[in-house]
Amino acid sequence: MSEAKLGVAFFTLLRRDLMLAYRHRAQMMNPLLFFVIVVSLFPLGLDPEPELLHTIAPGVIWVAALLAAMLSLDTMFRSDFEDGSLEQLLLTPHPLPLLVLAKILAHWLVSGLPLLLLAPLLGMLLNLGSEGLFPLLATLLLGTPILSLIGSIGVALTVGLRGGGVLLSLLILPLFIPVLIFAAAAVGNAEAGIDITGQLAFLGSLLAAAFALAPLATAAALRISLN
């Protein structure tokens, strides 16, 4: 009975967040647009030589993905904080980490998943070979949820602070480095014809660890920030 209620709470919150995102879909598009623009700046700033673009493609796409994630993370709890619904969330009898997980999942569906759809296009722009395309999608599929999960801790710590957006990137970007290293290297290695199951397994275990720990930390951080 109570488990069913828990599920209901989880999915109600998830649906609410997705509905809200759908209503503000123009706003939700902005980080994606940012992602595309940042990637297209690199050929302009460097050299549009196919060989060079081919080498830097995995790293550039992943760095742009990190930056786009930072932009969208900023909005994860902000509107809820401003209209007071975040405080309501803390007062519900349901375990807060679970509710936080619903919000993180909603954030990933809205901002992480679309990156996967855009990635092939950007891969083409940067002359990424067809061998690299599938690994790029695989690393994005495993990596972007980690960004949402770890990022949520930082958002929870900085919610309600003035200038929270810049602070958030200072706190969180260093923690994204392992994801960046392994994901970009996996794509690069795949292009060179090297086996990448090891890197994917590492990303998978990072995801599992973040999935288990990040909601707890985020819940604790929210309780501190809102007290």
């Binding site: 770890i150 801790i153 710590l157 900085t158 602070l161 003035r162 200038g163 929270g164 602070l167 200072l170 706190l171 970007l173 260093p174 923690l175 480095i177 392992p178 290293i181 392994f182 290297a185 990072l206 720990l213 930390a217 604790a220 951080a221 501190i224 920030s225 007290n227």
Partner: protein, 251 residues
């Protein structure tokens, strides 16, 4: 509460900790000074130059202890922040907050001396070597911690928020470290990690250990001093601070 021994419980009250920290700071300071003088003598005068790197190896006696300290301080900071948050011990979270600037200082020192050592060894100041890169990321973590600490007005909230951040950081540091090591082996260029494993001779080990202990005591002395400031700032209106200030004025 029975886990905490009685004397520790009494020590952890801000008033007693303030007094204890003052005494401990002075003692650790003197010990550090003696150790530093001894370490400098053995490091700069008594020990022979390295047979490969010559006298440039003497940078090791500041670089390596500073690099050790940068990791050590983060772990101490995270643990005392956790203790402070879980048992609500103000002295403990003051200790954690006081550790951050000292840890950042050691990290910056390790980075800069690493660069100065790298120039004669590698021919350039900066190489994306695993150890330097890890230190750089560690510096970012320290600076993030300090930025969050200063962004939150309320000292209690700041202490608890930074405790969470320190714990997240301490979980992540091994992962970051491992990633950077792996990334370094992947992109190994012409550079040789000469800084690692210099089959260390006893005459070099003595100054190295002396300096390492000197830095530890320096850290303790410094952090106790800073923790006193933190406590004063947080407890401004409390009776013990008023008594302290009033007493000092009366004398």
């Amino acid at each position: 509460m029975s886990i905490i021994p009685n004397w520790l419980h009494r020590l952890s009250s801000p008033k007693n900790f303030y007094r204890f920290a003052g005494i401990a700071s002075n003692w650790c300071g003197w010990i550090a000074l003696v150790l530093i003088i001894a370490g400098l003598y053995y490091g700069l005068v008594d020990s022979p130059p390295d047979y490969q790197q010559g006298d440039s190896a003497r940078i090791m006696y500041v670089h390596v202890p500073a690099a050790w300290m940068s990791m050590f301080v983060y772990v101490v900071m995270a643990s005392s922040a956790a203790v402070g948050m879980i048992w609500r011990i103000k002295a403990s979270s003051a200790f954690a907050n006081a550790s951050a600037p000292v840890g950042a200082m050691f990290t910056a020192l390790a980075l800069l001396t690493g660069m100065l050592w790298g120039k004669p060894m590698w021919g350039t100041y900066w190489v994306w070597d695993a150890r330097l890169t890890s230190e750089l990321i560690l510096l970012f973590l320290y600076l993030g911690y300090m930025a969050l600490n200063s962004a939150i007005e309320d000292r209690e909230t700041a202490a608890r928020a930074t405790a969470i951040l320190a714990l997240v950081g301490v979980v992540n540091i091994p992962i970051i470290h491992y990633s950077v090591e792996w990334w370094n082996t992947l992109h190994q260029g012409a550079t040789v990690t000469k800084l690692d494993k210099p089959s260390i001779h006893i005459s070099m080990l003595i100054p190295l250990l002396l300096m390492a202990f000197a830095f530890k005591f320096y850290y303790l002395s410094n952090v106790f001093r800073r923790a006193r400031c933190e406590l004063l700032e947080r407890e401004q209106g409390k009776l013990w601070v008023r008594e302290l200030v009033g007493g000092e004025r009366g004398e």
